[in-house]
């Protein structure tokens, strides 16, 4: 069965038989591998086929959505989405309208040099075993868990406006949780890698096992040897990963148009909210896990500056909110998979680098903290955030001294922005997942940054 043809037939049927303003069909067919190595044993060793269709229909100013993996029931599922939209429309005062776009016809090729489907399972197994071995060479390791997932396949997006995009979809994810013990003290180190543009080559070039294992062990030892931090407000130097999680959790979500409307950002557009040397972007990043050419409405992904030279400048939009705000859609409508409708999501959220060196940043700090990596982070719509710290150090008299154990930093991001006193010239990102009812692949990062106040530790 040629799926492209089937979808086009179904779309034509919908256009001829339903009085819908907008019809969107999104088909997905992925072959996945899920492997999980826990202390020498593969507890998950799965091959997975994920295939189904998402249907989204706008009629009378309201959305209806259905998803099914019974491809033979496609027409029925379309009718169902249509009926749902009709039912919602009856209760709707303000009709939904979509910003106009130029429909694209395209084939989005993968940039991966070595796609996951071109690598044998044996090699994947060997890779994971080697990583486990490297971790377990450290005598304080009690337990390790390494999860690996990859997928190769296709996604097709068709709309009644003429959008016709096919993607060669590929991704790789690796996640590590290592538990270590010293005396009575238990501690854990977490690490994640996600990639859509680099393929299996990433484990040879950028993220070889030795480097990853070293990183996990460094985090773990910083906890095992760590001392409890003093609670309170001190100068904080945050590394790229922590800067990134603040950008994502505490500020990025406020700049998602569906959330902006209920957040303090709503009244701050065009206003100065940070020093002029602070710029925060949502953009393409080399190695970014959120990279893509189009979103799930077929809109090209556009780089934007959420904060430009200290001024709140742009927000992330889908077509519905672009119309509402009278702006251009910028490619942020994303769906986890065929079982979900697209919603406004981040991709790669980062602070842009400036000109400070790390040494300059810490040299005049008498007492403060250097926070390097996190374990979980969360924010409220008033930009109050909490980030668990899994690697952090004390700064004393301009030098990094002892590590600190299980702690977190918190603050109100909008206030903390004003306390940024230095922006580094380096740059780094972390790749991971964002949950907003659905999971999305995202990156976040930036340079080292110094906050003189605005962040509480402990």
């Amino acid at each position: 069965m040629d799926m492209q043809e089937e979808l086009e037939k179904a779309l034509n049927w919908a256009m001829n038989n339903l009085k819908a303003e907008y019809v969107e069909l999104r088909y997905e067919n992925l072959k996945k591998n899920n492997l999980e190595l826990k202390d020498g044993t593969f507890t998950t060793f799965a091959g997975k086929v994920q295939e189904g269709i998402a249907i989204r229909i706008l009629t009378d100013g309201a959305w209806g959505f259905s998803s099914t993996n019974r491809i033979e029931n496609l027409r029925q599922a379309i009718e169902e989405a249509y009926k749902l939209a009709k039912a919602t429309a009856q209760a709707k005062k303000e009709k939904i309208q979509l910003a106009d776009i130029k429909p694209h016809e395209d084939f989005v090729k993968s940039k991966m040099k070595i796609k996951p489907k071109e690598v044998s399972i044996e090699e994947k197994v060997e890779h994971m075993r080697e990583l486990e071995k490297l971790l377990k060479e450290d005598r304080s390791i009690k337990s390790t868990q390494i999860r690996y997932e990859d997928a190769s396949g296709e996604k097709i997006l068709l709309t009644n406006e003429g959008t016709n995009i096919r993607w060669d979809v590929n991704y790789i994810v690796q996640y590590i949780w290592a538990t270590g013990k010293r005396g009575d003290k238990l501690a854990a180190g977490r690490d994640s890698i996600g990639t859509v543009d680099y393929g299996w080559e990433i484990f040879k070039d950028e993220q070889p096992n030795e480097k990853v294992a070293q990183r996990v062990l460094r985090k773990l030892h910083s906890q095992l040897e760590g001392v409890a931090p003093k609670r309170g407000e001190f100068p904080i130097v945050a590394g790229p990963i922590v800067v990134g999680i603040i950008a994502h959790e505490a500020l990025g979500h406020l700049a998602e148009a569906d959330l902006t409307i209920n957040s303090p950002f709503k009244d701050l557009m065009g206003k100065e909210i940070a020093p002029e040397y602070v710029t925060m972007s949502e953009r393409y990043v080399d190695g970014g896990f959120g990279n893509d050419r189009y979103d799930d409405e077929g809109v090209p992904f556009k780089n934007i500056n959420i904060i430009k030279d200290g001024v709140l400048n742009e927000i992330m939009l889908n077509r519905e909110y672009a119309h509402k705000w009278n702006m251009e859609p910028n490619g942020h409508a994303r769906a986890q998979d065929y079982t979900f409708p697209p919603i406004i999501r981040m991709r790669n959220t980062i602070f842009e680098p400036k000109d400070w060196s790390f040494e300059e940043m810490i040299e005049d700090i008498k007492f403060g903290y250097y926070v390097v990596d996190f374990r979980g982070g969360q924010a409220q719509l008033n930009s109050a955030f909490q980030v668990g710290v899994q690697e952090g150090y004390i700064i004393e008299n301009g030098e990094i001294t002892k590590s600190i154990r299980d702690t977190s930093i918190s603050g109100i991001a909008i206030d903390a922005l004003k306390k940024i006193t230095a922006v580094g010239k380096d740059f780094g990102i972390e790749t991971g997942f964002c949950g907003k009812g659905q999971t999305a692949f995202v990156s976040s990062g930036g340079p080292h940054m110094r906050f003189d106040g605005g962040i509480i530790i402990g």
Partner: protein, 441 residues
């Protein structure tokens, strides 16, 4: 299914076929309006086969016989590539199931229109209550699932059922100030959802949140409400009950069976057939009968939870605590419906008796806790200050420490419990802790 098992036995020493059929209907609320109605249908089949102690899994988006056979072959190819697990014993054998809870058939056929009406009613009610309120988000719907787990040891169990939910997230905007998002919900195994209660509770808290008070750095009394409590426990103490962690030495409870680990007021057990459960399962994710497993009784730790695999390694029996991960097909140890036993006093009285203290509605960052040692450092938000037995306003503070210390600081438990539909279900009361160190903001 029998035929498929026989087909699988051509490849495997033993195998399990689990079919999950899910249908979800729901409506979304965005900005005082309904935004979308949706129906999501999905059937997946998970094949778990073992050949010469090597595990192979396949997950397919179908229940079609031919596709399942292809899945069996794929699982076999995976098993051949996997290394031998010398500790593997066998899949579970059949057991005796408890009587299932009565199924509410009306959940199966309910139309999304029903939830359109409920949502409309809730939005109207919230806006009438307080003109400064925005219904920022919300939703309602039904999740219906049917599952069948069969294996070549003779397990064959069918379970079906569904649950309904409705929730509202309210934000207050007054004099340029935005309150934190405050939500409340109702979830039941029937359509008898209490929209009024959910809206009423959330709107009351928004009202409290208009007045913002500074919190101090101090040692004080803190009442933690069900949602916040279940989040904190899910990421600190609950993982420590896992038998796998006992074997691996990564639970602080390793040598504590029979010992006191918490206040005498505290009893925690797992029972999917508890009257308030939203997850009334008679069999766990691999077909083993579920049962009531007491974990902490009057402060004493009673024992660990086991799935089939780790129980056989330990030489004990599964406690019916195998949880299937539908995205990887794997089984891990967990709880179906954790119950924190209720106390005697009403929450209102508990608040009324506090001269100075705090009430916590939500924790930010519970998931950044460390389950390996129970350490946590969370932000209480939304939280409220209590003065002379009354709520004086909202506040934010940091609470950090170790859950095992906290368990010994319980001094009162509310008589009201709430079913929290979060990673399984937790039936939780509000718990009051004393001498809690907090860092004010």
């Amino acid at each position: 299914m029998e035929e498929l098992l026989r087909y699988g036995e051509r490849f495997f020493d033993e195998l399990e076929i689990a079919v999950y059929r899910n249908r979800e209907i729901g409506v979304n609320i965005e900005l005082n309006e309904l935004s979308m109605s949706a129906v999501r249908e999905r059937t997946i089949t998970i094949i778990r086969g073992i050949k010469n102690r090597s595990l192979g899994l396949a997950i397919i988006d179908s229940e079609d016989g031919k596709r399942i056979k292809e899945g069996i072959e794929r699982a076999y190819r995976m098993a051949k590539l996997n290394s031998q697990d010398k500790r593997w014993k066998s899949l579970p054998s059949p057991g005796e199931y408890r009587k299932p809870r009565k199924i509410n058939e009306e959940l199966k056929d309910v139309s999304p229109d029903y939830f359109v009406e409920l949502a409309k009613r809730g939005i109207k009610l919230a806006l009438e209550k307080d003109k400064n309120i925005v219904v920022a988000g919300g939703g309602g719907g039904v999740e219906w699932s049917e599952e069948r787990i069969t294996n070549s040891q003779g397990v064959d169990v069918i379970q079906e059922g569904g649950g309904a939910y409705i929730y509202f997230e309210l934000i207050g905007m007054k004099e340029g100030k935005v309150t934190p998002g405050i939500f409340d919900f109702d979830a039941k195994l029937s359509l008898d959802l209490n929209v009024e209660m959910a809206v009423e509770n959330a709107a009351r808290k928004v009202k409290w949140a208009y007045t913002v008070e500074k919190s101090k750095t101090e040692e004080t009394k803190v009442i933690v409400e069900p949602w916040a409590l279940s989040m904190l426990f899910q990421y600190t103490i609950f993982p420590a009950f896992s038998g796998e962690r006992l074997i691996k030495g990564t639970t602080p409870l390793a040598s504590k069976v029979g010992e006191s680990v918490a206040s005498e007021l505290l009893t925690i057990y797992d029972d999917p057939l508890h009257e308030m459960s939203l997850n009334p399962r008679i069999a766990d994710g691999e077909g083993v009968p579920t049962r009531k497993n007491v974990l902490i009784e009057k402060g004493k730790f009673k024992g660990f939870l086991w799935d089939n695999y780790w129980a056989k390694i330990k030489g004990t029996e599964s406690t019916g605590s195998g949880i299937r991960n539908p995205s990887t097909g794997g089984i891990s140890i967990g709880m179906h419906n954790a119950v924190i036993e209720k106390g005697k006093k009403s929450l209102e009285d508990m608040i009324g008796e506090i001269e100075h203290g705090y009430l916590v509605d939500g924790f930010q960052g519970a998931h950044s806790s460390n389950p390996d040692n129970g350490n946590f450092a969370v932000v209480a938000n939304p939280a409220f200050i209590i003065e002379d037995g009354e709520i004086k306003g909202s506040t934010v503070f940091m609470m950090s420490g170790n859950v095992y210390d906290l368990l010994n600081q319980v001094y009162e438990i509310s008589k009201e419990q709430k079913a929290i539909p979060f990673m399984g279900t937790v039936i939780s009361p509000s718990i009051a802790f004393e001498n809690v160190r907090i860092a004010g903001k």
